[in-house]
Symmetry: C2
């Protein structure tokens, strides 16, 4: 992609009211645009990051036997009345449809997937089933000032697994926990599995928390074994696992998995006939991962005073070519040639081809955008390329072949 | 994918209230599930079709210089008041957010993209810009009984193009028109470009209409030159282009493109400074394509009494292997081997591996699902495969190599 063609150009200042760091940087760098508090448009660079995150998650969900579906945002209000959450879920968008019936904008999908399953599950032979979706969710937050960390409209992956026994569900639950750790390792965002309360969903749950001073959550982390416990359920002096000391930390919850209470299965009559002919309730697990929130969390964790520092696997482009002295035809041809050459190898390249912009502005934009590899092509660099990794201070002169081998 | 693992199994009957043919067949075949009138879950097979349609459209939009974005479903009510459509748009979902402000669920995105552009466009040098999204839209329909043809929640591609002159916009408009014809040709759905009224958007527009007796639209098609005119704007006796006779037809509108009225640019103050230093309104085009509606239209156009007949490029799988006599280890191994072999070549295969299901039920399901190539492996077929194309009557005995060459 040519920077001269990319929509939009960067901004020097964040708009008034952008309080959180992820919001300021993502808006200035042209990744997102705020439409109202907690509601954003993903601009081309931002959507590329969301798509890469989604694809990493999708592949891992497929690997653990998840089948992808897409459930709607509009839910019948009556389903939410059956679970009692029509009244108790505090941030529910609810209104009347044209026919006068209550409609809910889904913040989670138990109220859709349980009744759906009752139509297809009758016997133990139909189980287990694991269904997931990557879908837009809604929460009617009164305050939504943390950028992508707490939106009114946000992208989530939610997986639901259905089993003939709690034992089978618990085994799958552990499998999902490992799968989440693989996902965050691939993304490049460090997380701690954290014991937490289950809220309206279950008695206990595991959260995936990413440490950062700007986080809204408070967790206690054992300094010896890294075991983490959310403040909500923290009642230990020292670690029960290893006797170590706890340290209080701020963090962002980027994922949350629950063994669900049986009350949902009861509310919707989700039963099956066991091998012995008994009528039993289906055991269910629910596994959330906030995709747009992960994008915000990455910016909170990985940035410096100049801008964002994207981990390689989720960066919108791998290489940012800063073309200088482009009025020289030789330099232009060289830059253009390297741009084409890298793209032909499947490397994603953003080529700053702007002629009316100073070298300083190009370097500033490269840092703000946070593309992992910056390559300068200029008269000074002669036949070499000046390579610098975002977040590192040293530059090196490399040949095109050396650059390619570093990018592999 | 193994049919024994696929969620869900097919149904013999459509649920009560499923009036339209696309709804009946897609529900029975397990592609969609209705959650409320006009609101559906896309089950694994259905989501595969949506994803393939989206990918064909995305590649074509990228080819004509579109940059993909993702705008929100939640819109500030005040934006809709600026265009007057808060009151005049008759199927608008609107309600109050937690802060008391009016919120709209977007059925289209002029009210988001115009104010967004005002922040980034100042000069003719910033133009042209083409932005598109593949996104979920909402219409508060009183009656929504046509399955995927008229949903309360539906998937659309919408493209918006911004230009420094009407002439430039009109040139791009023609380019989009050609691009749409390429998209529908790839999908395999025949369409007619149809002159139509612009509704609240513009004075005139072009629709892409697919002929089928179940369509809600009425158009007049010249029997000589295939020129089509929507009933709304039809006032000719004979074709003005060739003098031919018109025939009245029923059809489904699957796409609609508009040169937008200047009133939107005025409402949001979307001006730019021209090369001569004049302050001018940006000229805009808007180009919609109903992705979930296309899925419904395909079923209305391509089916027989046994089920759906998917065009190859959008079918959820290319091959349906009917395994018979699977209690024989030889046959099982042969079927399993061919299943793996085809998948290794990148061919998408659904293998009916069910042992407790009769041959008749497997053939019935293969026809209902509408996968383009059905391959029977049984004792009878010996070392060959029995190949039948969905929608054709003849079967042929082929070798694995011959099958592969037909699938290329």
């Amino acid at each position: 992609m040519l920077v001269s063609q990319l929509f939009p150009q960067t901004s020097k200042t964040a708009p008034a009211g952008a309080e959180s760091l992820n919001q300021q940087l993502l808006i200035r760098a042209g990744f997102i645009h705020q439409e109202m508090a907690g509601v954003y448009t993903y601009l081309p660079l931002g959507l590329k990051v969301l798509t890469k995150l989604s694809q990493i998650i999708r592949e891992e969900m497929d690997r653990i036997g998840g089948q992808e579906v897409l459930m709607p945002a509009l839910h019948p209000g009556e389903n939410w009345k059956k679970t009692g959450r029509f009244e108790t879920f505090d941030v529910l968008f609810k209104f009347k449809g044209a026919s006068g019936a209550d409609v809910v904008l889904g913040p989670t999908h138990e109220e859709i997937i349980y009744p759906l399953l009752t139509e297809y599950v009758t016997s133990y032979k139909d189980l287990p089933i694991a269904l997931y979706q990557i879908q837009t969710k809604f929460r009617n937050e009164l305050r939504a000032k943390a950028g992508l960390l707490r939106g009114r409209e946000f992208l989530m992956k939610d997986l639901y697994s259905f089993h003939a026994s709690e034992q089978d569900r618990d085994q799958y639950y552990e499998k999902v926990k490992k799968s989440y750790l693989k996902i965050f390792a691939q993304i490049g965002l460090p997380v701690l599995v954290t014991k937490a309360a289950g809220g309206t969903f279950s008695d206990l749950s595991d959260e995936f928390q990413s440490l950062t001073p700007s986080g809204e959550d408070t967790i206690f982390v054992c300094q010896s074994c890294q075991r983490a416990v959310n403040q909500e359920v923290f009642d230990e002096e020292t670690c029960q696992q290893c006797g170590g000391e706890f340290k209080k930390e701020k963090s962002i919850e980027v994922g949350n998995i629950f063994p669900l209470k049986q009350s949902y299965a009861k509310a919707f009559g989700l039963y099956f006939t066991s091998e012995k002919g008994e009528k039993k309730l289906v055991s269910v697990g629910c596994y959330g991962l906030g995709i747009s929130r992960v994008m915000g969390a990455i910016v909170e964790v990985f940035h410096d005073e100049k801008g964002i520092i994207w981990p390689e696997k989720v960066a919108p482009f791998q290489v940012y070519i800063v073309g200088l002295d482009l009025e020289s035809k030789d330099i232009w041809d060289k830059a253009e040639n390297i741009y084409q050459n890298l793209q032909a190898e499947g490397i994603e390249v953003l080529f700053d081809d702007r002629k009316s912009v100073s070298a300083g502005e190009k370097f500033t934009d490269a840092d703000l955008l946070g593309i992992p590899y910056r390559v300068v092509i200029s008269k000074k660099s002669e036949s070499n390329l000046e390579l610098k990794k975002r977040g590192e201070k040293t530059t090196q002169l490399v040949s095109l072949a050396e650059l390619k081998s570093q990018l592999k």
